[in-house]
Symmetry: C2
Subunit: 431 residues, 2 copies
């Protein structure tokens, strides 16, 4: 049996995960430019990452951080990237609240065909209420969004299975192209969706594209435990990560799934230097680029409350939970209480990685920490969120990845061709 | 002033426009295979076509012709094709009945960025009523679909203009990424759509991507005259094409547009040989592959009536018009009456090109006919619908295009880089 291996996802949101990463000397400062994305794809594939994964929002606030506002649409962008990469998985975010299951199932099946089995759907319920106004709809509340999402994901998976693998015959001699006996309608008639099917594209190379999820709430975890192949999590330290990991894996048996069936990847923003000192200098420089307005706005967005009303040098206020309150808020607040932070401390933490774990140090320090988490039940791998591109990713790929490879913790090369292969998942039989 | 030039679109629907084109020796028989599409893209670009244009349907009927049932999703497919082509325009069909304006505007703006200004949206209202069942909705009737489409197209164009060309500042020194004064919301609040905006992607390289339309009905023509840059039409002979051309161009002044602002491209299925004889032999071979079931089904779909009830060797029945009745039905019925066709004759005509004009002959014959139409007020160019791929397209590119080029009727090479350049259209100012 092969030694258990670390899995690596690369998270891309706009100009990098640090709020002011685009201001770093030499950093890419446009994410409407395909050439930048292609370069990122090449670096990630050189680093043998399992997948690239595009964040998304469905609204623009020109006063906010550019990463929240401007981007290429994920599915078109990943389709273009499918052509300039050959092995890495390609994950796009698509909403269960503002999309429809037929179009979603179809687009991801198409990406899977285009990429020869590398597509992944990051199913999100869309937390930001502003999005509704772009679709002429009231933004559903949290529990309703998850109720809808449960049905949405089932419909998409059902549509992916309408065609048998051998339904397309294409027999020139007889003229039979499709064997109708091997294609079935879905005839879904549920509370939220009525979808007849079949889908108008044949079964995907992966059988079903990979499903990613990141929900941190109880309904989000339940949805992920029932339907996801890969889960991203938001954590700030080892104890929290381990508790989340154990808690999530414990949910799986109730859905007839084994803990190894779902890959759990905590998000981490690595700031890597050749020495700890060099890494800390990079982070310091990054932090010097932060604008107070942007940082407060992200904080307000994460907490669902206007934070500009509070004293920056006073204690972090007691806000209570609300519907727009993210998983981020919970872990950041816990950390703030543990460390007696002022609001200014919290704002600096948020600015760095928008609430994700910042891991700053030499390549050895970073590799040691990742190994510790991986080997002690806190992670199956990591969702790597470089502060800026391309150097922030180059540092990780050129300095950290080789150490993990030398230690036998991470693949030296891809062994399979599909994302399922990279994740060690079987191609599913048609349901 | 340059001599007026022919414009060429390449229409792709599944395995070719002939109902049984996939059975032709050597023809591609899969359109879920990106390599086939890439090869088609390379040939079309070698032929200096203005654009490739993907047809679409939103349902699958496994008993029907494969071109109607199976395909890669157009936007993901064209995004992949954007990377392996450099000049040719990329048009995808998207529905105004089953899509939403925000997602549509965003996806086409993204394709325009990805392709450096080569995106085109073929706005369709989706005629086939079966589609509704995949979206949990009643299929709206024809006039309602066009009422919705009028507003949908306006919203999309408005979203494309939310960002000024110079709204993205990305000034590292000051930290200003976006100039909020150069971005505006749309605040559309209409009968069918409420869309706040702004779009979450900057203004497209073409300013606004090109809009294509193919509506043959009076409401379809009106929508096209008001909003389209390129119009596809369905005709069976010169007189009909000229009447349609004159009729359509006459609509433009009422919308403040000049006749040269909209490029009109009748659809044509060319079957080209080195001699007329060779071409007719190809068509005969193609027709020998037709299955009666498929041909009758397409005929029934085009006429919105089950045609299997009628005597094949009797006269074409008098059906009256109905809501599912296509522009195709009108031109085919007119031809059937003119030529005293039996239902079998009509079915053979339908099988050949699904109701489009079939132009069969030597390269000289084909070039002469296209030139005649172009120079005598029946066309600004042609929407070329090869019966099968790749040889059906190779024949046109290698045999017909050089004749048109020698005669100074068609570009020897691309002169600009965007689809607007190819069409001779200015980049529009922000409204």
């Amino acid at each position: 049996m092969t030694k258990r291996q670390i899995h690596l996802g690369l998270f891309i949101l706009g100009t990098g995960s640090h709020v002011a990463g685009w201001r770093y000397p030499g950093a890419f400062d446009s994410f409407q430019d395909l050439a930048s994305i292609q370069e990122i794809g090449r670096i990630a594939e050189r680093g043998k990452f399992d997948l690239i994964f595009m964040g998304d929002n469905l609204y623009a606030d020109p006063a906010a951080h550019p990463s929240y506002t401007l981007r290429l649409e994920p599915l078109t962008m990943l389709s273009a990237l499918a052509v300039t990469t050959s092995r890495i998985g390609l994950g796009a975010t698509a909403s269960t609240t503002y999309g429809d299951p037929f179009s979603t199932a179809r687009a991801f099946a198409s990406l899977d065909h285009i990429s020869n089995g590398r597509a992944a759907w990051n199913a999100v319920t869309t937390s930001n209420a502003t999005s509704g106004a772009n679709f002429g709809r009231e933004h559903p509340d949290h529990s309703l969004r998850y109720e809808i999402a449960e049905e949405f994901v089932d419909v998409v998976k059902g549509l992916w299975d309408c065609w048998a693998d051998d339904a397309i015959v294409a027999d020139r001699a007889s003229g039979l192209y499709i064997d109708p006996a091997k294609v079935r309608a879905l005839d879904h008639d549920g509370k939220w969706f009525k979808v007849k099917g079949p889908l108008n594209i044949g079964r995907a190379p992966q059988g079903r594209p990979i499903v990613l999820q990141a929900g941190g709430s109880a309904p989000g975890q339940r949805l992920a435990a029932r339907t996801a192949d890969v889960v991203f999590s938001v954590v700030q330290d080892f104890a929290e990560a381990k508790a989340q990991y154990d808690g999530f894996k414990a949910l799986l048996p109730a859905f007839g799934r084994s803990p190894s069936e779902v890959t759990m990847l905590p998000g981490v923003m690595p700031v890597v230097g050749r020495t700890d000192r060099e890494a800390f200098d990079k982070l310091k420089l990054l932090q010097s680029f932060v604008s107070g307005t942007n940082a407060l706005q992200i904080l307000s967005d994460r907490f669902g409350t206007d934070m500009s009303a509070y004293d920056l040098d006073g204690p972090v206020p007691d806000l209570g939970e609300n519907d727009a309150y993210h998983a981020f808020a919970k872990v950041m607040l816990a950390k703030a209480r543990r460390e007696n932070m002022t609001l200014r401390d919290l704002y600096n933490l948020t600015a760095a990685a928008r609430g994700h774990w910042v891991l700053c140090g030499s390549a050895e320090t970073v590799a040691d920490t990742l190994q510790h988490w991986f080997e002690n039940g806190a992670a199956d791998g990591f969702n790597v969120m470089p502060p800026y591109f391309p150097a922030g990713l180059d540092d990780f790929v050129d300095l950290v990845v080789p150490i993990l490879q030398e230690r036998g913790l991470f693949r030296a090369d891809y062994e399979g061709t599909t994302l399922r292969d990279h994740l060690g998942l079987e191609r599913p039989e048609r349901m």
